[in-house]
Every structure is written in structure tokens, then in C-alpha cells.
């Protein structure tokens, strides 16, 4: 990690640590702590897709499947088999990684539209299983009473404590992702983004690299799903449908496809938008679609790209001004 990135991550961490205290100053904003928990959870799954889509150039329309596998594994193991929640979370990540490997090997040989449709189909199949394998999943009504995660005997139940847990996980995932990006495998991924053939000729095992990053994205998805299950203590299928997969795609694309940070911006926007635009009710879907369309058409680098561009322009401007002095 470069010093610049380390500086960004640590200042972001400080910001996240202070934020709930600021939000709690007013009863009007205290509720935002809950919203921020979902920003953290969505940032985690978004980071995974950002690595896959933004860096390796491979699309997935089935990320909700991994989110669901994480959530259901956590739920089923803790409720039906009385497993410790932390182990259940690890098991969820393991199961999702195993499935991602099995699905990823044939799927990532496909490209473009075929890959998009194959991952969409995978997500739909998993969603059908959540709905129909009633003995295990509770079917359309799902099941509840999932125990919270606990630390040294203290359950992490309140919004305040779960906020710190979820953001700890999110910052670890963000740091890991930034490290992957600036590592040898990360550079290999970027080269795959530009050309499969050129990368292969440089000695990169293209198929393997794609599957590996798909597994990473699946593991992040499962971690997010497991946090979701232990926070809400309840799971049912609608949270893991096709639309959630599309939402993860929107988080990454709207936030900014060129940087892992984009996933965090995207997650924040997609969670705060419905809070600010309450009059939209269910029609936030429409707003998301329009924003996605505008971003893809006019600002392919997303919000992060816009902000980075604006910041660059600002600093250039300041430098110019100071030159005059």
C-alpha cells in the first residue's frame, strides 16, 4: 500500500469512528447510524464486485446469491444446529467460496453478454432454492431468531456497537481490496481487463486469475450477508433477489467503476437516497435506474471519478493562484 492510500484509509477510519458521535448529537440524525450499518454491509459486497468488474472487467449479475448464501448459512447453522455465530460466519464464507469456485470455473470462460446472463441465471437458481427448499430455508417466509454476534460474552446487538463491528469489517475489506489492486495479481487483473490474449502472452494464467477474483468477490458477498443476518436476526428470500444483484452493480457503477472507493460512495448514495427522497416510496427503483443510465452515459467513472476530477481541478486552481503570489 502506498503512503497516499494509507493516508486515505486512516483518515477515512477516523471519520467513521467519529461519525456516530456526531450523528447522535441530534435525535433527527441518530437514525443515520442504522443507515450507515447498511452502507458498511453494502460497501463490503460492493468492494467484491468492484474488484471483479472494475479491475478484471468481468461482470456478475448474481452477487445476491453469495450474499444470500452467507446469510442463510449463518442463519441455518446458528438456529438449527446451535453453532457459534462466528464459526457460522466463517462457514458461510467458506461455502460461498466453494460455490464460487465451482460456478466460476465454467462461468468465467464466458465473456460479455454470455457471462452476464450466466451469472444472472446462477443468481436466479439460488433464489429459487431459497424459496423452495422449505425444510432448510423456511421458504418464502424465511426464519428468525438468529442470534447476534457476541464478543467475550457481550452480544453485539445495539446499532451503536454493530456500527463499529460492520465498519471494522468494511475497512478491513477495503484495505484488503486496495492491497489486491496494487499487488502483482491486481496488475494482472487490470491487464486482463484490457486484453485476455496479451495477458496470456505475458504468462498470466487468465482463467485462474478470473476465477480467483470471482471467489474473492463471493467471499466478500458472504461476509456481508452473514453480517446482515446477524444484525437483522431474520432472513427471507426477497433480500437476495435479482434486484439486489442489480443494486450491487449500481453501487459499483454509480460509485465509480475505476476505484474500490467507488463502492463505498455508491453504497452511501444508494442507502441515503431513499432516506432523503422519502416521497419516492417504492419508486426509488426508478431513480436508481435513471441515475445508473446517466452515469453510464455521461460519467463512466461515477461519483468517485467526478469527485477526484473536481479535487484535481481544485488543487490545480489553488496551485495556479499561489503561483501568482
Amino acid at each position: 500500500m502506498t503512503t497516499n492510500t494509507a493516508l486515505k484509509v486512516s483518515s477515512f477510519t477516523v471519520f467513521i469512528m467519529i461519525l456516530p458521535w456526531v450523528l447522535n448529537l441530534s435525535s433527527a440524525t441518530a437514525y443515520y447510524v442504522d443507515v450507515m450499518i447498511f452502507v458498511a454491509i453494502h460497501s463490503i459486497i460492493g468492494c467484491g464486485l468492484s474488484l471483479l468488474l472494475g479491475y478484471a472487467g468481468q461482470i456478475s449479475l448474481g452477487q445476491a446469491a453469495f450474499y444470500g448464501i452467507g446469510a442463510y448459512t449463518s442463519g441455518i447453522l446458528t438456529v438449527r444446529m446451535d453453532v457459534n455465530p462466528w464459526f457460522a460466519m466463517a462457514a458461510g464464507i467458506f461455502v460461498a467460496s466453494a460455490i464460487a469456485t465451482a460456478i466460476g470455473i465454467p462461468t468465467l470462460r464466458l465473456r460479455g453478454h454470455y457471462l452476464a446472463m450466466a451469472t444472472l441465471g446462477f443468481g436466479m437458481i439460488v433464489f429459487i432454492v431459497f424459496n423452495e427448499y422449505i425444510a432448510l430455508t423456511g421458504g418464502p417466509s424465511g426464519f428468525g431468531n438468529i442470534p447476534p454476534l457476541s464478543l467475550m460474552g457481550h452480544p453485539i446487538e445495539s446499532s451503536f456497537s454493530f456500527y463499529y463491528l460492520s465498519w471494522l469489517a468494511a475497512i478491513i475489506v477495503l484495505t484488503a481490496s486496495l492491497n489486491i489492486v496494487n499487488s502483482r495479481p491486481g496488475r494482472a487483473l487490470r491487464s486482463i481487463h484490457d486484453s485476455d490474449k496479451a495477458s496470456a502472452s505475458l504468462g498470466i494464467n487468465v482463467a485462474m486469475a478470473k476465477v480467483k477474483i470471482f471467489v474473492v468477490s463471493g467471499a466478500f458477498g458472504a461476509l456481508a450477508g452473514s453480517l446482515y443476518a446477524h444484525y437483522l436476526t431474520f432472513v427471507n428470500p426477497p433480500a437476495f433477489d435479482v434486484f439486489f444483484s442489480l443494486k450491487v452493480l449500481m453501487i459499483v457503477v454509480i460509485g465509480g467503476i475505476g476505484s474500490v472507493w467507488g463502492a463505498v460512495f455508491g453504497a452511501a448514495l444508494l442507502n441515503f437516497l431513499p432516506e432523503w427522497l422519502v416521497f419516492l416510496h417504492d419508486f426509488d427503483v426508478l431513480a436508481y435506474g435513471i441515475i445508473l443510465l446517466l452515469v453510464v452515459m455521461f460519467s463512466p467513472q461515477g461519483i468517485y471519478g467526478l469527485l477526484a476530477g473536481a479535487a484535481g481541478y481544485f488543487f490545480k486552481f489553488i496551485r495556479k493562484e499561489s503561483d501568482h503570489d
Partner: protein, 297 residues
């Protein structure tokens, strides 16, 4: 005795399958038309079907238009929407990479879904059959009258498309653009106009499918993704780009699904279709009939 019951059942499933398959075939044709001219897989194709069905309900049931008027109004509206999508969403893209086009058509799909929810809400809508009457009894099976409409109109659409692409100037020009846009431009064919025509035709085809199937299956705003993936699956099974392949594969998928519902499990019928589609994607992405029309993918 047992044999008659079984054969009646088989005919029943066969007809149900053909009816559903007709919609997959029309959706697959829509995918192919747009893909052949532009290279784009239009993720909003399933939403065209949903819109066709919901508009038909609105015109026929709520505005009280006579059926033929309602039907052609639906087609007219969808042709307009197709052209609108091309001019305002597809054409302005400066660097049309595959990834960008996937995301644009996904955005269009989400917007169509959102607007449909805005206009019609979340509940499913029913539509009376085009001609009311009790089911027809055929060899131990009861066939809904609407099934004949679905099959008849689908066959008519296939015949129309065959005529259109082989005998009319616009159809031939569109095929020329599909083969080689550069050369087509040299002989004076406007590629953007042909792409626009492909979007108009594609959305109209989807809408026809939606309008004829709604009396059988009902229609609601969020059905698009499932229809799209099965239509796309049919297009792949039949060899992407091949019209006859798409029709045969659409019917095959419909029949398979219907028999899976009857003999295996109705809960997993969609999953069975999807597993089949994934299996073909993984093992034979050029399609079952090996037309190999698309090697670029």
C-alpha cells in the same frame, strides 16, 4: 384406461409447453433482431414483453378499446418506445464497449420496470381471452382457446419476419447492416436508421408476445428478468443470430418446462430451465444446432 389418461396428460403438457414456448420464441427473436444489427444483447427485452401485456390490459380492459384496436395500439406504443430508447439511450454512447452496452440496457430495463410499477402498481393483472369460451377438448386434454391465439399469432409473426427480411427493402437493408455495416453504408444504407428499426421491431415483437400471453399467465411489472433470461436461453440454444433456431429452441424450452412441471416438480420448473440454459452456455455456447452464427462472443 391408464394409457388414455397418460396420453391426455402428455397432450396437455405439450400444448401448455408450446404456448409458453411461443413467448420464449418471440423473445428470442427480439434478442436476435437487435443483436444481429447491433451486436447488443438487449437486457430490456423481457420488459418489452411485460409492457406489451400491461398496455394490452390498460387499452382493452380500462379504456375499453376493441381487441384489434388495443392490440395495434400496443404495438404502436412499443415501436415508439423502441425508437425512443435507441435515440436517447443507445445512440449518444460515445465508446460503446460491451460492458457499457450491458449496463445501459440494464438501466433501461430497471427504468421500464420502475415506470411500469408507477403506472400499474405491483399486483398482477388478468385479461380475458381474445375469444371467450370453454376449453377445447382434444384427445383427453383441455386446451385453452387463448393457446390457439398465442400459437397462431406467433406463427404469423415468424412468417411476417421471414417475408420482411427476405422480400422487403428495409429488411434486406437491415440484413446488410448485420453482415457489414461499413459496406452497407457505402451503398447508401443509413446504419443508425437500421439500428433504430431493429429496436422498433424488437420491442414490437416483445410486446406482441406479452399481449397474447397475458390472458393465460397474468402479467406483473417485475416478470421481465425471468422472461428475458429464458428468451436469451432460447436464442443461445438455437444458435445466437439464427431465427429458425430461436423458434425451435423456444418451443423446446417451453415443452421441457411444461413436462418438468408435470412430472418432476412445479416448484423447480424455472430452476430446471435455468440449469439447462447454463449447461448449454458452459458446454455448447454456439447452440444446440451448431449454426455457429456467433463466434465473436
Amino acid at each position: 384406461m391408464f394409457d388414455t389418461i397418460l396420453s391426455g396428460q402428455i397432450i396437455q403438457y405439450l400444448f401448455t409447453g408450446l404456448t409458453i414456448g411461443a413467448i420464449y420464441a418471440l423473445t428470442a427473436l427480439g434478442f436476435n433482431i437487435i443483436h444481429n444489427v447491433t451486436g447488443i444483447i438487449n437486457f430490456a427485452q423481457g420488459d418489452f414483453v411485460v409492457w406489451g401485456g400491461l398496455l394490452m390490459v390498460m387499452f382493452a380492459r380500462f379504456f375499453g378499446f376493441p381487441l384489434p384496436v388495443a392490440f395495434f395500439s400496443v404495438v404502436g406504443v412499443m415501436v415508439f418506445i423502441g425508437a425512443f430508447i435507441y435515440y436517447f439511450n443507445i445512440r449518444p454512447i460515445k465508446k460503446p464497449s460491451i460492458l457499457t452496452m450491458i449496463m445501459v440496457t440494464i438501466a433501461v430495463s430497471i427504468i421500464l420496470q420502475g415506470v411500469a410499477m408507477f403506472i400499474w402498481g405491483k399486483e398482477p393483472y388478468a385479461l380475458p381471452s381474445f375469444i371467450e369460451g370453454p376449453p377445447v377438448y382434444v384427445y383427453g386434454a383441455y386446451i385453452m382457446r387463448q393457446s390457439f391465439w398465442v400459437l397462431g399469432i406467433s406463427v404469423a409473426m415468424v412468417l411476417f419476419l421471414t417475408f420482411f427480411f427476405n422480400r422487403t427493402l428495409i429488411g434486406k437493408a437491415m440484413r446488410a447492416c448485420a453482415d457489414d455495416p461499413g459496406a452497407a453504408g457505402l451503398v447508401g444504407i443509413s446504419t443508425p436508421l437500421m439500428i433504430c428499426a431493429a429496436f422498433m421491431l424488437g420491442s414490437a415483437l416483445g410486446a406482441v408476445g406479452g399481449a397474447v400471453i397475458t390472458p393465460i399467465t397474468l402479467m406483473e411489472y417485475d416478470r421481465g428478468a425471468m422472461i428475458a433470461i429464458k428468451g436469451f436461453g432460447s436464442a443461445i440454444l438455437g444458435g445466437l443470430g439464427s431465427f429458425s433456431g430461436a423458434v425451435i429452441a423456444g418451443f423446446m424450452l417451453g415443452i421441457l418446462e411444461s413436462f418438468a412441471t408435470g412430472f418432476v416438480s412445479s416448484a423447480y420448473k424455472d430452476a430446471i430451465s435455468l440449469v439447462l440454459i447454463l449447461g448449454v452456455l458452459f458446454t455448447k455456447p454456439e447452440g444446440l444446432f451448431g449454426s455457429g452464427a456467433n463466434k465473436k462472443a
